[in-house]
């Protein structure tokens, strides 16, 4: 469970200080799907970075299962990301020189899983996103939707508690978008993940249990769907 209390995040931009988050209070239950909307530059990705331990808050606390992420050392945060948090990015962020399977396998490297274990889990993850037959393909040999499926497999292969998705359909066409969101929803239900998804797309946001809107660094919960 996430618990954010008075979270602020400020960036130094030249001589000016920009407040990306300004006192965000939020609780996200285990297994919840929260969609975060908002205009560009209003703090959505900053919020996601703090939830994923990719950045540290300037003020307030971000707790995951009672652990204050701001109090953890960098190595502890790294271990937390390796074990408990999966990321999906708008630009897929696959390593271009590695095949689909190797990209997925990369997520298991910090967990010190044996080579045989990595191979088996990678194959299972690719199977679960419907890309078992594309395992040896390089990212450039895959469509955008397929690349995002590989990225999802990479995020889920380590069986995380939390899945953070930053506009995962932002670079996809409408049909592919529906496929990817359908897949994410299926995996969310199937695996009991906590899913926090940043999106501009209201139709996607409506499928989440709750929708929050970021406006000038402030978060407002607008909708609570029947899924909650």
């Amino acid at each position: 469970m996430y618990k954010l209390t008075g979270v602020t995040k400020e960036y130094q931009k030249g001589r000016a200080v920009v407040g990306a988050l300004q006192g965000v209070d939020l609780t996200i239950a285990d297994g919840e799907w929260l969609a975060v909307q908002g205009r560009t530059g209003h703090g959505k990705s900053t919020l996601l970075n703090l939830l994923g331990g990719l950045d540290r808050a300037t003020g307030g606390t971000v707790e995951l299962d009672g652990t204050d992420l701001g109090a953890l050392r960098e190595t502890q945060l790294t271990r937390l990301r390796a074990q408990s948090i999966g990321f999906i990015f708008q630009t897929f962020n696959l390593i271009p020189t590695l095949s689909a399977a190797e990209n997925v396998e990369a997520a298991l490297i910090p967990l010190r899983v044996s080579q045989a274990g990595r191979k088996a889990r990678t194959a299972g993850a690719l199977e679960s996103v419907g890309l078992a037959d594309r395992a040896a393909h390089l990212p450039t040999e895959l469509s955008g939707g397929q690349q995002q499926r590989v990225a999802i497999a990479r995020a889920l292969v380590k069986e995380p508690k939390v899945l953070l998705a930053d506009e995962p359909t932002g670079n996809l066409d409408e049909d592919t978008r529906d496929d990817i969101i359908g897949l994410l929803e299926h995996l969310w239900r199937d695996r009991g993940l906590t899913l926090i998804l940043v999106t501009h797309d209201t139709s996607i946001a409506r499928r989440a249990q709750r929708t929050g809107v970021m406006t000038n660094g402030h978060l407002t919960i607008r909708q609570e769907s029947p899924n909650l």
């Binding site: 990705s45 994923g52 990719l54 960098e74 962020n93 020189t97 490297i109 080579q115």
Partner: protein
């Protein structure tokens, strides 16, 4: 193994950059290897020069000083005392009619159609043969050998007065008949026949240097005339390439007898030598041994290889300065340039891969694991650079060996002072001796190891700078760059 797979894929994908970095390192390393090879070649040439002047394995030489006006001394290094010239042997005189005549024990004949042959010892004080044993017994002396260096000079007069006399000279070393680790025959190998045996001490037998044998059409069993005495060639020896050995060797005792028999010599050389080769027990002992010999033999010239090396001039010295000064600094500059290029390109590559490293950090890869990956890629590039550099170094050394002129070295003969050197100098530079040696660059295992270390150091430096950037990379910042 994932590390290797990732490394291989990255290098293959960024092949052009990897090749560029590797070639840069290879150029620097290749130059270092070439300069080191050339330097080793020059050192070898210098060593050859010293060997030529000294004899292989010799650390110190002892020679007699220049004689006083009335030259003599019967086997002593003590101040000379005047003795009458030998009554034995031939003399060359001018007849009352103005022509040359050869006189033997007061009986003179016209020189026309005859050969006046004599054996000339060096114009210096002889050293008692017993001194060799004294030197050999000194503390820290491994071995000592005494030699009587002589020059056989034969003037052949034409039968008719129309022609001019022909002068033929060759050098003769009187050596001990037993094997010693120092001396003119220490590094020689016998290519035909055999060396002297103890039974040859007073025999008219000679060992001939292969070069002189070839030019004079001599072989085992041939005869050679020394001071009017016919010697049988019992062996043909071959000396190391860079040395300039005497033409003929005869037994020391026989050489002493023959030289003593030469009339108008100015003194006796019976039981004397004029050059002592000394090998110290170790290189560190050379100064002590030199000092001790100088103390015991105050009237003689004691020269160590080090002091001789400093007096050597000529193209070998120029080449030594060139490789040690210009070559070294050019290599250092090229290496610095190669390291800088490799570092800049690696830093640029890390900057371009910021999103990749940010993603890996988001996936939970520890920074040290990412750094290990980048260092691995740099090391692999360094290995390729080292291999290519060694190849370039061998090519450079081969080119130098092919195009480099033979090096000459000139040393003042006063350091050794034998007549042999004067003759070998061709009479053009009396007092100096010039030795010509080939420049043969050589690449040792040490140089190859140095090349690998340099390439590794360059690649590790580049990788370390790249790693420094990675360590400073905040994952959120890196991912924001992609966005």
């Amino acid at each position: 193994m994932f590390f290797i797979t990732y490394l291989r894929r990255e290098l293959r994908c960024r092949m052009r950059q990897a090749v560029f970095i590797a070639l840069g390192l290879a150029l620097g390393v290749g130059l270092v290897v070439t300069v080191a090879a050339a330097s080793a070649g020059v050192n070898k040439a210098q060593s050859g020069v010293l060997s030529a002047l000294y004899g292989v394995g010799t650390d110190i030489t002892v020679t007699g000083n220049a004689p006083p006006p009335h030259y003599s001394s019967a086997g002593s290094t003590q101040p000379a005392k005047v003795t009458p010239p030998s009554k034995n042997g031939q003399t060359l005189q001018i007849s009352p009619g103005g022509g040359a005549q050869i006189c033997d024990n007061g009986h003179c004949v016209n020189a026309a159609g005859r050969t006046y042959d004599r054996l000339i010892p060096p114009y210096q004080e002889p050293i008692s043969a017993s001194t060799v044993a004294v030197v050999a017994r000194l503390h820290d002396v491994a071995a000592a050998a005494g030699v009587l260096t002589l020059v056989d000079s034969a003037i052949t007069y034409p039968a008719n007065s129309a022609g001019s006399p022909q002068l033929a000279t060759f050098t003769v070393d009187g050596v001990g008949t037993g094997h010693t680790p120092v001396g003119p025959l220490a590094a020689a190998t016998i290519s035909s026949g055999h060396f002297f045996t103890a039974a040859d001490s007073h025999a008219d037998v000679a060992v001939v240097d292969s070069g002189y044998a070839a030019s004079s059409n001599l072989k085992t069993g041939s005869t050679i005339t020394i001071n009017q005495v016919r010697f049988t060639v019992i062996g043909i020896d071959t000396q190391p390439q860079e040395t300039s050995p005497p033409d003929v060797y005869i037994a020391l005792a026989r050489a002493q007898t023959l030289a003593t028999a030469t009339k108008n010599l100015g003194g006796s050389v019976a039981n004397t030598v004029n050059l002592i080769y000394v090998a110290a027990a170790s290189a560190a002992d050379i100064p002590v041994v030199q000092h001790e010999i100088s103390r015991r033999l105050p009237g003689d010239i004691v020269t160590a290889a080090g002091s001789l090396a400093s007096q050597v001039t000529g193209s070998v010295s120029t080449a030594a300065r060139l490789t040690s000064d210009l070559g070294k600094w050019v290599s250092v500059l090229v290496l610095i340039a190669a390291f800088a290029v490799a570092s800049l390109l690696t830093m640029a590559a890390v900057a371009r891969r910021a999103a990749e490293f940010g993603t890996l950090k988001a996936l939970g890869w520890p920074t040290r694991r990412i750094i290990a990956q980048v260092l691995g890629e740099s090391l692999a590039t360094g290995i390729a650079g080292a291999a290519a550099g060694i190849g370039l170094g061998f090519a450079g050394a081969a080119i130098i060996a092919a195009v480099a002129p033979r090096l000459s070295a000139t040393a003042p003969s006063s350091t050794i002072g034998s007549m042999q050197q004067v003759i070998q100098a061709g009479g053009t530079a009396l007092g100096n001796r010039t030795v010509v040696v080939p420049l043969s660059p050589s690449i040792t295992i040490g140089v190859i190891v140095l090349a690998v270390i340099l390439a590794m150091a360059g690649s590790l430096l580049a990788g370390a700078l790249g790693s420094w950037r990675i360590a400073r990379l905040r994952p959120a910042g890196a991912l924001a760059l992609v966005a």
